[in-house]
């Protein structure tokens, strides 16, 4: 099977899966289920594409679907501030950083091997099945409220900001995060710089 046929089959299956999950959500839970099916299938399809694609650029851009889908799930969970931060930081920042990494390193197109991906998938799923029962038991003991008793969704940007700056809540962690980001960015520049010994001395004209 040629690469073109492989791509067509893969994306056809992916589109079918997205449509199926959207339709199933619509039938079983109405509009909210449809939105959930759309965002969750987008998330998973993006990460599948990231694993499938041969080119790093395509993988990096398919991660955008994953991040957008996760932002949509945050919106469905009533966390508007978090959805906004997800789009700003992941799509606008981290994805751009990964693309810089793609641009600054050589392409390696022959690196993907489908048997290795399939074997890894089987191994990881086998490992996951070992802990599946324990995870389900832990889920049973979660203090989860039924949907009818949930607090209604309201905009949370104000309460999140107040919690960040409240002296008895998160202000220490907030300042530490700011400090950590400063140190991390300065350290990134320091690590990534080229040593002066790397540059060739200029030829005398």
């Amino acid at each position: 099977m040629s690469i073109l046929h492989q791509q067509r089959a893969f994306y056809g299956l992916l589109t079918l899966a997205i449509l199926t999950s959207v339709g199933y959500g619509l039938v079983s839970h109405g509009a909210e289920g449809m939105a959930f099916g759309f965002f969750s299938s987008f998330t998973i399809a993006g990460s599948l594409m990231c694993i499938w694609e041969r080119s790093v650029v395509r993988s990096a851009f398919s991660l955008m679907a994953t991040f957008m889908g996760v932002a949509g799930l945050f919106l469905l969970l009533g966390s508007d501030f978090l959805a906004m931060a997800q789009i700003l930081i992941y799509v606008g920042g981290i994805l751009a950083l990964i693309l810089f990494g793609v641009m600054l390193t050589p392409p390696d197109l022959g690196e993907r091997s489908l048997p290795r991906i399939g074997g890894t998938l089987v191994l990881v799923l086998g490992g996951a099945s070992l802990v599946w029962k324990h995870v389900m038991d832990a889920t049973e003991s979660l203090a989860v409220l039924p949907v009818e008793e949930l607090t209604p969704m309201t905009s949370q940007d104000q309460s999140v900001g107040l919690a960040f700056l409240h002296p008895e809540q998160y202000v220490v962690a907030f300042e530490l995060a700011a400090f950590l980001l400063t140190v991390a960015l300065v350290a990134a520049v320091y690590i990534a710089r080229r040593r002066t010994a790397d540059f060739e001395p200029e030829e005398a004209a």
Partner: protein, 100 residues
């Protein structure tokens, strides 16, 4: 939609992130897999917080995870560039010396 649906999506995303890290031989895919895993953890935090007591704890955790992911991506990109500069290769298995 109950909390199990969100946790299921998070679990699938986590597994795919681990597969992405293990099965691709390119450092950049390791970075992408780590981002997927952090996103899966964030979905779990927010979902359990939403279906819990209505507090803010899970969301604050998720925000700090996003902050840490940003710092981690910056440092990891610098390390990738340095590794490529030192070894002329971006396969993780090629970086096998402690000093040059």
């Amino acid at each position: 939609m109950g909390v199990e649906a969100y946790m299921g999506v998070a679990g699938v995303l986590f597994v795919l992130g681990i597969v992405c890290i293990i099965s691709r031989r390119n450092i950049l895919y390791v970075l992408m897999g780590i981002e997927m895993i952090l996103n899966a953890a964030n979905i779990n935090f927010v979902a359990i917080n939403r279906f819990g007591n209505g507090g803010l704890e899970g969301r604050m955790f998720a925000i700090f995870v996003i902050i840490l992911a940003a710092a981690e991506a910056a440092i990891a990109l610098a390390i990738v560039l340095n590794v490529f500069h030192l070894f002329q290769s971006i396969r993780p298995s090629d970086a096998d010396m402690l000093r040059d």
